[in-house]
């Protein structure tokens, strides 16, 4: 039995998640739960070298193993013109290596066998002879003239993938020259990985009799995947059926198409049998899409009294061996130009150089709408450095520079039009909850005793909901999203959307949106996503875009249904349509609330008793092209204590006040904030996908890539302000990514704040104990 959720007017209420009844009982159906008759298993042979020429591949021993059905190499795929595939970023990526490998763990061969264990055994029997080549690990070195060119397929030969810039360089440099104070900082956001609990995987099931391919895949964007697949494979799109079953976390990891997917599809078409490929944890961490790896240099100018004057940013973006980012096509550095943040900069300039190195390809937007985490981290860290230089409290500096409420819609110097926000109100709420003045007093007392306590502030602005068709597309496809609503004769609703949730709670929140508009309860509405044969086309769930796009489509579609329902209600109530009132739950004649009809009666009439001339049925389908993005914001304050002996940082308190506009379900929002803060905590203190000089990945499993548990996760205190988006049908903004975007700087700023009396202005994350220890000992602080 699913939970009954019969509350009327559900919007804004903390309704329990409908999907949990099934998920917490272990009755979710994830990719690896699916077993088809006659299914075979695929395993990949991967490169131990980060850069090497392939001299020879001998598959004979693998092929000879009983139970092995197929062994594929790059040469086999090349014969089918499938050795390379396009990436969503407009680059191309090797499916199976041809000629050489470009990163450790790169896909070199694929083996298909009767069982997964057998496939792994056979993969071990594939012999590959390599000739190691010089390795490029450092993205700065990659741009040096003496660095080896990694991508011989590119013309002109260069390790620079792209140069992208935005803003007014001259005006910014001039403004910096005239500024009383200029602070410079080099800030690195290291390579991390989304590491969803469920790794990537698929089952390709090609039926020779029908020519139809059913592709089960852990996908955040099933429709986009179907289109890409059709373009790459030549299979007609209507003969590809993509099913994205329950998804065990995505965080951006499940937006791109991976070599294993292509191999499984090629194998299934070739063998006429279903073929399953599921990554191991190591494969997930080492080959399918890291995030970040931004090496940033910032200059921020200000007047003596702390008004910001200009911002200049230069960034090297390490994309690894292939640019496999999933950014909107016109944005090779994503929405990094949100880098002016919450502050009213008169002028700004940012440039990003994308670079190839011998590392795994990427980088995806890990819980962040395309490089927004990098941008927020940079500006929030830079504001901290500026406050230190000016000897101003970091909260005060922010209050002096926030874009004031009356300036919205606000046009930023880098080209965005912010929809709404009251940044000072959000920060003041956070300061009130944590009692900021008392904390600063306590800090002064502790400092006098030689204790290390720090307070970190981050007041970020997010940019989510890609996006308006005039600006946003992926490989030409506009970034709208969709909802189709069908009201059945008894007033029960099935709604299908073009998005694909992975834990965000769409089955509940979109049911709330629709039920609210139709005068129903969430129990009356089933939300379905992820099946391309049934759901309307949409670009999927990432970049906090579902509520701004598909959620808007749901509200608009429900209103269209209600418009028709009003006509039917007029017929049932025997009054003119203009004389019908909607009270949020029922229709009644104006001025006569005693006589009324609800959606159930209207729905029945839509199939049984229509006004003359009206088309039967009660449904609507909407493709929503958002007029703008939404700009959620938040104010986070973090308090840390540092152990003088070990350098360990203890997060004592963390207050997160978020503003995501209208809140559909406060409990779901809080859940999103908790999860994202935990990820932000991990990024600040625990995680890095590091490499040694020869390109060996140093964090290929959860022994080295550290995911926090309940034991180390701090206690989160959350609250909110509500500044609705003026252009969204219900005033909602995205929220899923805010905590990941906003929190890393709060943690880092708190640690820097604790160490500031020593003259420390910057330390790169992750803030491992040894890093802090080194600073302490350099300054003679010990136990």
């Amino acid at each position: 039995m699913a939970l009954e959720v019969t509350e009327a007017r559900p919007l804004g209420k903390p309704i329990k998640r409908k999907e949990d009844a099934r998920l917490v009982r272990g009755q979710g159906r994830y990719l690896d739960d699916i077993a088809l008759p006659g299914m075979l298993y695929l395993a990949l042979v991967r490169s131990p070298y980060a850069h090497a020429r392939i001299k020879r591949i001998d598959t004979s021993r693998a092929k000879a193993l009983p139970g092995v059905h197929l062994v594929l190499t790059g040469e086999d795929l090349a014969a089918k013109n499938l050795a390379w595939m396009p990436t969503l970023a407009g680059d191309k990526q090797m499916v199976l290596a041809v000629g050489k490998v470009l990163f450790q763990y790169q896909e070199v061969a694929a083996v298909v066998a009767e069982s997964r264990a057998l496939a792994e055994d056979a993969a071990n029997l594939v012999e590959v002879e390599y000739e190691p080549l010089p390795v490029v690990v450092d993205p700065f070195y990659a741009l040096e003239p003496e660095a080896p060119i990694l991508r011989e397929d590119r013309d002109p030969p260069s390790n620079r993938i792209f140069h992208w810039e935005v803003g007014d360089r001259e005006a910014t440099e001039e403004a910096l020259r005239r500024s009383a104070v200029v602070v410079k900082e080099r800030i690195r956001m290291p390579r991390v990985h989304p590491a969803p609990l469920e790794p990537c995987g698929c089952i390709a099931d090609y039926q020779r009799a029908t020519g139809k391919l059913t592709w089960y895949v852990t996908s955040q964007a099933p429709h986009a995947h179907r289109t890409v697949l059709s373009l790459v494979s030549g299979l007609p799109e209507h003969k590809i059926h993509v099913i994205s079953p329950d998804v065990g976390g995505g965080f951006g990891n499940k937006v791109p198409v991976f070599p294993g997917y292509v191999c499984a599809i090629v194998a299934s078409i070739g063998l006429g049998r279903p073929v399953k490929w599921v990554e191991t944890r190591t494969e997930n961490l080492t080959s399918t899409n890291f995030a970040r790896d931004y090496h940033m240099e910032v200059e921020i100018g200000a007047t003596e009294d702390g008004r910001v004057t200009a911002l200049k940013v230069f960034t090297i973006a390490d994309h690894g061996a292939f640019d496999a980012a999933a950014d909107p096509t016109r944005f090779p550095a994503g929405l990094f130009s949100i880098v002016t943040g919450s502050y009213d900069f008169p002028t700004a300039f940012a440039e990003v150089d994308g670079v190839y190195t011998n590392k795994a390809p990427g980088g995806v937007a890990y819980r962040c709408s395309f490089r927004v985490t990098e941008a927020s981290f940079l500006i929030e860290r830079a504001m901290n450095s500026l406050a230190l230089r000016l000897n101003l409290d970091p909260a005060e500096l922010r209050l002096r520079n926030f874009i004031p409420p009356e300036k919205f819609p606000y046009r930023s110097p880098l080209g965005w039009t912010y929809d709404s926000g009251d940044y000072a109100a959000t920060l003041k709420r956070a300061m009130e909850i944590i009692d900021y003045p008392a904390l600063r007093r306590e800090q002064a007392e502790r400092r006098a005793r030689g204790e290390l306590m720090g307070i970190g502030v981050s007041t970020f602005t997010e940019i989510v909901g890609a996006g308006p068709s005039h600006t946003f597309d992926i490989l030409g496809i506009k970034m709208f999203d969709s909802c189709e609503i069908r009201v059945h004769p008894t007033g029960k609703v099935i709604a299908r959307l073009g998005t694909r949730h992975q834990g965000q709670g769409h089955e509940t929140t979109f049911a709330q949106v629709i039920a609210e508009e139709l005068g129903l309860t969430t129990d009356d509405v089933i939300v379905e996503e992820g099946d391309t044969d049934t759901a309307p086309y949409g670009l999927g769930t990432y970049a906090s875009r579902s509520t701004p796009t598909a959620g808007a489509a749901a509200a608009v579609a429900a209103r269209r249904v209600r418009d028709k329902a009003r006509k039917i209600a007029a017929h049932l109530l025997e009054v003119a349509e203009e004389d019908v009132d909607w009270d949020g739950q029922r229709f009644h004649p104006v001025g006569a609330p005693a006589r009324s009809v609800g959606m159930a009666e209207v729905a029945l009439a839509a199939y049984t008793n229509l006004p003359p001339g009206m088309e039967p049925g009660l449904e609507a389908s909407v493709y929503y092209d958002p007029p703008n993005l939404t700009f959620p914001n938040g104010a986070y304050i973090c308090v840390v204590d540092i152990d003088r002996g070990t350098g360990q940082v203890h997060v004592r308190r963390f207050v997160a006040v978020d503003d995501c506009g209208t809140v559909i379900n406060p409990m779901v929002v809080e859940g999103q904030i908790h999860g994202g803060l935990t990820e932000g905590f991990a990024i600040a203190f625990l995680q890095e996908i590091a490499f040694d000089d020869t390109g060996n990945c140093l964090a290929p499993n959860f022994m080295e890539y550290l995911v926090p548990t309940a034991v180390e996760t701090p206690r989160w205190e959350t609250d909110r302000t509500v500044t609705p988006s003026p252009h969204h049908p219900i005033g909602a903004k995205g929220v899923g990514e805010s905590p990941n975007v906003g929190s890393p700087a709060a943690f880092a700023n708190a640690v820097i704040d604790a160490l500031a009396p020593l003259g420390v202005t910057h330390l790169d994350i992750p803030l491992y104990p040894w890093k802090v220890w080194e600073v302490l000992r350099q300054h003679g602080i010990t136990e």
């Binding site: 180390e712 491992y768 104990p769 220890w773 080194e774 010990t782």
Partner: protein, 295 residues
């Protein structure tokens, strides 16, 4: 992540196990909790063709105390030791160390003997075993012998066990004075192997003087280490803040760490110092709490 194919033998006696090892030589491995061996097999770092499972051998599980000390059978789980309240009085280091090992799932399966045989320099039992001056009881085709802690660890993942020998039990001597112990561990997150681990075991005479001292170090050398000079500096002394500082510095000198992702050698060495000092300080407070103030 599947191991290479292997044959599985569920033996019923130690003799049967030794027989199997003798027959298959280096191709065979015994398995106890499987918590080190199976991950290595799944990564195909280890690929034994025969697994000899000790878990069904009668009499290998559980611990007993006698006049000489404590005997911990080879298949006794970490979790059983973590919960062995009766050991708190005489073997407090066991209870102090066990909760630091991995997570509850691993502790429900893993064994002390398996941990020692595996000889990971970062293992927590290794440091405790050295601090307690334990011995392993070993059985092989030639019969039984016992190996003292200082002779047991040879190098990284290497012990003085022969390929056809099995640890049947771990022995810990009965304390000569009143024992006080603590285990300190720097880990990056819960369940992580030690960045640095320090096992401290003091046996104190009725006057509050240290009669026996054990300082074992994890993850700061190619094998678990003992800090003999630091231990010697404690013998016959009452603990004091200054003594703790001096001993901590000596213990840090005994460490032989290498730099890696978890920190530089200098950092790890300093963590030994910080932890030994903190540990001795906490033991001093406990000892003074028990002693009349004048003694």
């Amino acid at each position: 992540m599947f191991p290479a194919p292997f044959e599985y033998l569920a033996v019923r006696s130690v003799e049967e196990a030794i027989d199997a090892l003798a027959r298959h030589g280096y191709d065979a491995k015994v398995i106890a909790g499987g918590q080190s061996l199976l991950p290595m097999m799944k990564l195909r770092v280890a690929a034994p063709s025969v697994l000899v499972d000790l878990n069904r051998v009668e009499g290998l599980s559980g611990w007993q105390e006698d006049a000489q000390g404590l005997r911990i059978g080879a298949t006794t789980r970490h979790a059983a030791l973590e919960r062995a309240r009766p050991l708190a009085e005489r073997y407090p280091l066991i209870l102090a160390t066990a909760p630091w090992i991995a997570d509850p799932l691993v502790r429900n399966r893993g064994t002390m003997a398996g941990s020692l045989a595996h000889a990971d320099p970062a293992a927590d039992w290794g440091a405790a075993f050295l601090a307690l001056r334990g011995q392993v009881e070993v059985q092989g085709p030639q019969g039984t012998r016992s190996i003292g802690a200082d002779d047991f660890f040879v190098d990284i993942f290497t012990t003085s066990l022969a390929a056809d020998e099995i640890i049947t039990a771990v022995r810990l001597p009965r304390p000569v004075g009143h024992p006080e112990a603590t285990y300190l561990k720097l880990e990056r997150k819960v369940g992580d192997f030690a960045v640095v681990g320090v096992a401290l075991n003091l046996e104190v005479d009725p006057e509050g003087r240290v009669a026996q001292a054990g300082i074992g170090l994890a993850a700061v050398g190619p094998k678990p280490l003992r800090a003999p000079q630091a231990e010697a500096a404690l013998i016959g002394q009452r603990l004091s803040f200054n003594l703790a500082r001096e001993v901590a510095a000596l213990a840090a000198e005994a460490a032989d760490p290498t730099s890696d992702q978890r920190g530089s050698a200098a950092f790890k060495r300093d963590m030994v110092r910080v932890f030994v000092q903190r540990g001795l300080e906490s033991l001093r407070q406990r000892i003074e709490g028990r002693q009349p103030a004048s003694a």
